[in-house]
């Protein structure tokens, strides 16, 4: 089955992973800007990173027939440094114009601090200026529940934000309900230990339905599996879910959300179209 991985940090993965993903049916990836595992020392470092996301990674992905899209932002962890963050925000409009950029992301909270909240709101304001899609990172472990609710508070407090154009990512059993009830899209991240296993993701599909929901590998430099979405597909099949339902979650839903971006130039091939009619 063809699928889209709507959240994967290919900058941290080797080229062999692109090949394995392509062989498993991946036709497109969306790569949010994120914390690289260390704090960068200057805005210039971010400019180099954004060039990598908008120039090098699309070329590397295309070698294997994978279409590469990306998001630009200052991530939640480094947002604790407000002065550096504001320098990075000044750089962002130039990169938001690049042809593979879908919007602002992944912005959010990490330890739920005032500084993180300030920079989150400033990036939401930037996104509203040019009508960008927004992709949101929710915090880890014990910080996830309060942080997700703080993020929803901030989004509800900005009347310019259209929930249909925002995806709140890394939802789990205790946060998926409030996100969907508020009208936002949501993403479930499939990780080996933290976040969500394929089996629990299928449980949430069974409990909350398949509208406005996507699954991703969030493959990065930590413990993660770039083939996690195929694992989810397998778990859905093992439980007897219909192929069209699986395809909706791993292909049609990402297309529906991303196609709201002016830069979503995803090309459905003839083989894709024939597969969709099977």
């Amino acid at each position: 089955m063809y699928y889209i991985d709507p959240h994967v940090h290919m900058v941290s993965r080797v080229t062999d992973d692109y090949e394995r993903m392509a062989k498993a049916g991946c036709v497109a990836v969306s790569e949010p800007a994120f914390w690289a595992g260390y704090d960068r020392g200057s805005a210039e470092s971010f400019a180099d990173y954004f060039r990598l996301l908008t120039d090098f990674e699309p070329k590397r992905a295309s070698t294997f027939g994978i279409q590469h899209f990306t998001w630009i932002c200052i991530n939640a962890k480094e947002a604790e440094n407000v002065s550096l963050s504001r320098e990075v925000i000044k750089l962002m409009p130039e990169f938001l114009e690049c042809p593979n950029v879908l919007g602002v992301g992944e912005i959010g909270l990490n330890k739920n601090t005032r500084n993180e909240a300030t920079i989150f709101q400033e990036q939401v304001a930037l996104a509203m200026k040019t009508d960008e899609l927004i992709l949101i990172h929710t915090p880890h472990l014990e910080d996830k529940l309060p942080g997700t609710k703080m993020i929803l508070d901030m989004l509800h407090g900005d009347s310019r934000v259209n929930p249909q154009r925002v995806c709140v990512d890394h939802v789990e059993e205790h946060t998926i309900g409030p996100v969907l009830d508020s009208g936002f899209w949501c993403g479930m991240t499939l990780y080996p230990i933290t976040k969500c296993t394929p089996a629990r993701a299928v449980d949430m599909i069974e409990n909350f339905g398949d509208d406005r929901i996507m699954v991703n590998s969030a493959g990065d430099w930590g413990p993660s599996n770039p083939l996690a979405v195929p694992d989810f597909i397998h778990e859905m099949r093992m439980r007897g879910h219909a192929e069209h339902k699986i395809r909706k979650i791993v292909y049609e839903n990402p297309v529906a959300f991303f196609s709201q971006s002016r830069n979503w130039t995803f090309e459905r091939t003839e083989s894709l179209q024939s597969a969709s009619s099977e």
């Binding site: 500084n115 529940l145 449980d203 409990n207």
Partner: protein
Amino acid sequence: MSKPLTPAELFQREFLPMRGKLLEVAAALDRLERKDPLLLDYPGMDQIAKAIEALSQNGQARAETVQKIFSLTYNPDWNTDISGTDG
């Protein structure tokens, strides 16, 4: 296309993995106690105990309950209660 599992098939599929995961938790608790019995009083172990207790409850929200046991509390007044350190 796969067929939906019958209740008996679902039980068969889930039983051994559940047994295995419970054994892993039991063995981890043994491992901690073997190293030092005081580890069972370390911060976080009370959450483990509450989570184990939650598994015995009836209802459809055990996973959500366990998630909340390991979560910090949401403060609806966070916007006035937290302060910044920079900028």
